[in-house]
């Protein structure tokens, strides 16, 4: 079973601060997704990365896939209260099952 370790587990910051959350594994992945989940709702897909070293930007969010496709990071610039939520990474192993492995998530609170 591939494990995805997310860090930090919890993050509480003030509006306007920058932050980075991490998703790490010892396994190589064919693709990796980042989701955001708000209370009472299901996870919403933010981005998919597939190529080692790939960087994708979504407004103030920057996603990077590690060169070896074993890890990923999500950087948020000038965080807003609307960024509050649980950030989950999910990945499928190269040549492996269609069932993605999910990390436990990073719970982010952005205070006004």
């Amino acid at each position: 079973t591939q494990l995805l370790e997310q860090s930090p587990q919890f993050l509480s910051i003030q509006e306007g601060e920058n932050l980075t959350v991490y998703c790490n594994s010892s396994s190589v992945f064919s693709s990796l997704q980042w989701y955001r989940q708000e209370p009472g709702e299901g996870p919403v897909l933010l981005v998919t990365v597939v190529t080692g070293g790939e960087v994708k930007k979504l407004k103030r969010l920057t996603f990077q896939f590690g060169d070896a496709r074993k890890d990923s990071s999500l950087h948020i610039t000038a965080a807003q209260p609307g960024d509050t939520g649980l950030y989950l990474c999910a990945a499928r192993a190269s040549g492996g099952s269609y069932i993605p492995t999910f990390g436990r998530g990073t719970s982010l609170i952005v205070h006004p």
Partner: protein, 113 residues
């Protein structure tokens, strides 16, 4: 709407009762997944459907849990003789193909008294 729809959104029942949870995937999505999410925990995989067949049932926690999918569309997850440890949010997701990203419903919050 065009998203994944789950019903009921909340279910409270007594220990020992059976419950049935429903998932309507996005039209045309062949792959369907059920997960369980407990407070402070990640998503626990339960079962995966490709069309009407379930190639992977490895995540079902006991024989009290079963699921079916009909017409390549709607799926139901049934929990028999519910226990308090079954209390959780049950999430359904679908994708156009097995190797594509998943789209989630808002889940059913199940509470066993």
């Amino acid at each position: 709407g065009a998203g994944v729809s789950q019903s009921p959104s909340n279910k409270v029942t007594e220990k020992g009762k059976d419950v049935e949870l429903r998932c309507d995937p996005i039209s045309g999505h062949t792959a369907l997944y059920w997960y369980r999410q407990s407070l402070g925990q990640g998503l626990e995989f339960l079962i995966y459907f490709q069309g009407n067949s379930a190639p992977d049932k490895s995540g079902l926690p006991s024989d009290r849990f079963s699921a079916e999918r009909t017409g390549g569309s709607v799926s139901t997850l049934t929990i028999q003789r519910t226990q308090q440890e079954d209390s959780a949010v049950y999430l359904c997701a679908s994708s156009p193909a097995p190797d594509q990203p998943q789209h989630f419903g808002d889940g059913t919050r199940l509470s066993i008294l």
